[in-house]
């Protein structure tokens, strides 16, 4: 009888652990060398060193932090709205046949629709302000969340429900203490999908039509139009790192809220 241990990363040999870093460094070195040796114009493909200079500049003058912060707030707003309504409706659908029958046709019809195609309509209805960005991102993230939540509730392990009833739980307790917790892994995976979609849609909305002139999407489009390719790369780099950080943070939060759910998905 012993406690199960997870294999630790540190058991890998050193060279194996350094391989990811080596891969990136090597790639950057080749890129730098090619640009310099062949004299490629910075407008087409700037060297990594040049991108790094511009990146430092954009951080120092406060433009990157500002636009990144704005994008972050929009993502959080869209994600929270979608997460709240997605989980709420998913749970209601899972628990009430009436609600699921009422909502099923709408979800079936709207889920496959590429949400980005709603942008023209939303601009007509909501204008090009914050409401438009929030709506498009929240709508897109809502669907994966509601569908995963609903599936998680419906697919709750019947054995656990029977065990709970055998231990004296009434139907309300079964729902609250068994069905909903059992759906948590599935809800988490819905929230992960939702977060990915929110990031995409917020940046896309900032690129297409938003009047606020702020956010990473806006930055990318503006620098692209004036052919400041170094800044485009710098913004892309930041966006990629930012997305990675958000996903990692979300995993941390999952692990903190429900450590048992890890590996259950």
């Amino acid at each position: 009888m012993s406690i199960k241990k997870r294999p630790k990363k540190s058991q890998d040999p050193l060279w194996l652990r350094l391989l990811p870093i080596a891969s990136v460094v090597l790639f950057l070195a080749i890129w730098e060398a090619v640009v310099r040796l062949r004299g490629i114009a910075p407008i087409i493909l700037p060297a990594p060193s040049a991108i790094a200079d511009y990146l430092a500049l954009m951080i120092a003058d406060g433009s990157l932090p500002f636009h990144l912060g704005v994008t972050f707030l929009r993502i959080m707003a869209g994600f929270l709205v979608a997460g709240f309504f997605g989980i709420l409706l998913g749970v209601l659908m899972g628990m009430s046949r009436i609600v699921s029958r009422l909502l099923d046709p709408w979800i079936a019809a709207l889920y496959p629709l590429p949400k980005i195609s709603l942008i023209p309509l939303l601009i007509i209805w909501l204008g090009t302000g914050e409401a438009y960005i929030l709506t498009i991102s929240a709508i897109s993230a809502f669907f994966p969340v509601v569908i995963s939540t609903y599936a998680g509730i419906r697919q709750a392990d019947q054995g656990l429900l029977r065990a709970a009833r055998d231990l004296g739980a009434n139907e309300r307790q079964v729902q609250l203490k068994v069905v909903i917790p059992a759906a948590v892994p599935s809800i988490f995976s819905g929230l992960h999908l939702g977060m990915g979609v929110t990031i995409i849609l917020v940046v896309a909305a900032e690129m297409i039509g938003a009047s606020s002139q702020s956010g990473m999407g806006y930055l990318l489009i503006r620098y692209g139009q004036v052919l400041e390719t170094e800044k485009v790369f710098a913004a892309l780099l930041v966006l990629a790192v930012f997305g990675g950080v958000i996903i990692k943070a979300q995993e941390r939060i999952d692990r903190w809220i429900a450590p048992w759910a890890i590996g259950h998905r």
């Binding site: 406690i3 009833r165 203490k177 917790p181 048992w260 759910a261």
Partner: protein
Amino acid sequence: MDIFVENLVQIWDDGGDGITALDGITHHFASAKLTCLLGPSGCGKSTLTQIVGGIEQATSGTIRIIDPANPATPARPGERSVMMWQNLNLFPWRNVIDNVAFGLEMAGVPRAQRYAHARDMIASVGLKHFEEKRCSQLSGGMRQRVALARALVMDQPILLMDEPFAALDAQTKIVMQEELTRIFERMRKTILFVTHAIDEAILLGDEVVVMTARPGRIKEVIKIDLPRPRSQELINTPEFGDLYDRILHLIREEVLNAMQQQNEAAAQ
């Protein structure tokens, strides 16, 4: 608690003619005795246990659950029993103590009280200091103990155990069998114990009910009059050997029948 099962029939709906899982089971499971149910796979052992436990509803037949001290008011199936499941059905989002305290929590027992109670039970199955662990962090044998504690904490006079030790390795199984013997001798509950293993049935049971292949009927009831307390050493005695041979003979016939059924079903 005496359990009188009379003419119990269970026909599962399979979209067609139905599957007859139990075909007229009549038996008296004696109060404060440990009865083992033995039979080939699919003969309806789980079905019978679940009907006795009020988890499933029988197609026809009656179950009377009677306290010998108070025979005037019979209990409903499930009212005075608790199940220990073959696959345990522990709640993975609850740590050990919250799994064990689940039933008390549902009954509205205040936190301090139910924890005190659960802690005692956890200690008595040998899991002291594991209260805060998640179930996924425990070994198979330890999880088994959690499930046992979760059932015992309900303090019900009837304990239904559906192949609780089937998934354990041989050593852990022996330890758990001894544990159960100890608990049974101390608490004197009425226990229905489903098993595939003949030695386990003889070692634990006051009585072994051998069932036929599907549709499940009672083939024979064998009294085990070996003295208690029992231990593993019993396995080497001639009495044990005789009982083993007798039951093996009964079971072999039924297992062959069950295999033939399966072959015929596969051929169709």
